[in-house]
């Protein structure tokens, strides 16, 4: 019930934002939403105690899948692009997950990093996909309805909001139930979970799959927002950014990734305007401060306030 209210409220707010705010704010909100969805996937993975330094892989696959549709198959429908992005990433995650679900800790992090760098290496060198420059994409319809010029992004933001709310609700349900408890169990003590008759491998695999598909959806959203894809999306610094946002928000709440992604994008917009040379430094300092003083993320502040109220 509470979740439904939050979901409807955020949908209304985002739709209002999409229709009324200036273009730059719509753009920023869309990027924040895209990253929020990716980090939501990372949150699912982190509930099992695993951190992936390679979500850029799926982010890139989602974005390139959407862009390829537009560029090579001349499909210009945004809804098809979003679904394809998520499906393509989910498919690759389903394959790689078979392997990665057997790894833990730093080895999991490093192997996922290696896979994302493999894709980066391929993209940078493939002239057909624009090498380091990437290429543009255009989405002109949404569910078959032609979009008026200048309205595209506003419609995409609403579409993105619907996607984000739907996946957030699904993840909320999933983690609130049996599966979520099992994931935390795997994080805390994997062997005991196995003794009790559940399969840690399966838990990790499915959560990895979810994280991959969500990152693909986020990638497709980001591609629609920017109208351009390039290999930088799969580079390790992009993956690092996602981990940063996840740490910033914390992993207790489904809302935390979106809140953190919004703060991150807002800060970035401000910093690139006024202090482009100390942007990374402020990120680093913020990260250290969070790890030292709020190890469970900014969300703890919200929790604290609620408890004292």
């Amino acid at each position: 019930m509470k979740a439904a209210i939050v979901a409807i409220a955020s949908l209304v707010a985002l739709t209002g934002l999409a229709l009324l705010s200036p273009q730059w704010l719509v753009f920023m909100a869309m990027l924040a939403l895209a990253k929020g969805v990716v980090v939501l996937g990372l949150l699912v993975l982190m509930r099992t105690g695993l951190v992936s330094f390679g979500q850029g892989l799926y982010f890139g696959i989602g974005a390139y899948a959407a862009a390829l549709l537009s560029h090579h198959l001349h499909v210009a429908d945004a809804a098809v692009m979003l679904l394809t992005g998520a499906a393509a990433a989910g498919l690759v995650a389903a394959l790689l997950g078979l392997l990665l679900a057997g790894y833990r800790d730093i080895f999991f992090a490093m192997l996922s990093l290696a896979f994302s760098m493999i894709l980066y290496g391929v993209l940078v060198k493939s002239a057909a996909l624009g090498s380091t420059d990437g290429f543009n994409l255009h989405a002109r319809t949404f569910f078959g309805v032609a979009l008026a010029p200048g309205m595209e992004r506003r419609v995409f933001l609403i579409a993105g909001a619907v996607c984000a709310v739907v996946v957030a609700l699904l993840v909320h349900r999933l983690l609130g139930g049996h599966w979520g408890r099992l994931a935390t169990g795997v994080r805390d003590n994997e062997l005991r979970v196995a003794y009790l008759g559940a399969s840690p491998y399966r838990v990790v695999y499915v959560n990895y799959l979810i994280a991959g598909a969500l990152a693909g959806l986020g990638g497709a959203l980001a591609a629609l927002a920017v109208g351009h894809v390039d290999p930088e999306m799969t580079y390790w610094t992009t993956s690092g950014e996602f981990v940063f946002i996840a740490i910033l928000g914390g992993i207790q709440s489904i809302l935390a990734p979106f809140m953190a992604a919004t703060i991150f994008e807002a800060l970035r917009t401000i910093a690139s305007q006024y202090a482009p040379n100390v942007w990374q430094m402020s990120l680093g300092l913020a990260m250290l401060a969070i790890i030292m003083f709020l190890p469970a993320g900014l969300w703890t502040l919200a929790e604290r306030r609620r408890r004292s109220a």
Binding site: V51, F53, L99, G102, Y103, D105, I106, F107, A109, M110, L111, L113, A114, F115, M117, I118, Y120, G121, V122, V124, K125, S126, N189, L191, R192, W236, T237, G240, V243, F244, I247, N277, V278, W279, Q280, M281, L283, G284, L285, M287, L288, I291, M292
Partner: protein, 298 residues
Amino acid sequence: MSSILPVAFDGIAYASWLFLISAGLTLIYGVMRILNVAHGSLYALGAYAACSLAGAWLGGGLPAAGSFAMLLLAAVLVGSLVGPLIERGLLQWMYGKDEVVLVLITYAVFLIMEDVIKLVWGVDSLLLPEPYALPGNFQLGGLPYPVYNVLLIALALATGLILAWALYRTRQGKLLLAVIHDREMSMAMGINVSRVYLATFAVGATLAALGGAFTAPTIAVTPGIGVEVIVLAFAVVVIGGLGSLGGAALGALLVGLVRSATVRYWPEAELFSIYAVMAMVLIARPKGLFAAQEARKI
């Protein structure tokens, strides 16, 4: 034959460069269990310091051969000043945290140092071509080849041998091995673990800066050079097995040869090949080629 020789030589030169950087990374991980992302910025710092010092030396009209001493000095200065600053100022409060959290902490340090470098040295690229041009060329398989690369190989060999000797043949090295093996027991036996950590981090930082200082003459030193290096060094160290010096040497050689072979015969696959090797090694041996077995704790 005439084409294989330069390819092999290129690979070994590249491997030497990789080894200099990875040796420090694997040493720090072996002792402190920190996969140090800031290693990339220590590398960049070494390159920038080398440009400043050697540039000042050459600008002062001093004999050009001395610029090599300046490269070394730059590495030692960065290692002995910035290394301890990071370890004492930050990392010493973080020991005992989860390994992945430690990666994030050093990632934060990396982000901070990237901007510090930009603020100190600016965003324009720096050039230091003299030390590279100075030793001249020699003929290899009918092609002119820079003698500087031979110096680089010699430097990596010497560094590797000195490290191995210091680790396995000296008292300090044996104390270090004891700390790697069992930190708590070493403390109980009276080893000053905090000092061992400090020394390890300083040595590791010096190695990173050494790699940077001796790369500076061969490239344009620009912001962001540490970003690529750190993932390459990760690949090398993970291939060899985290914490193993011999593993880092073998990993560097493997990556170096694979890279130079792909660059020669299939240039599109350069980056792809390196990480594909890493993925394959991890698939076959999940903890790398030379990783120590660990007891399973329930």
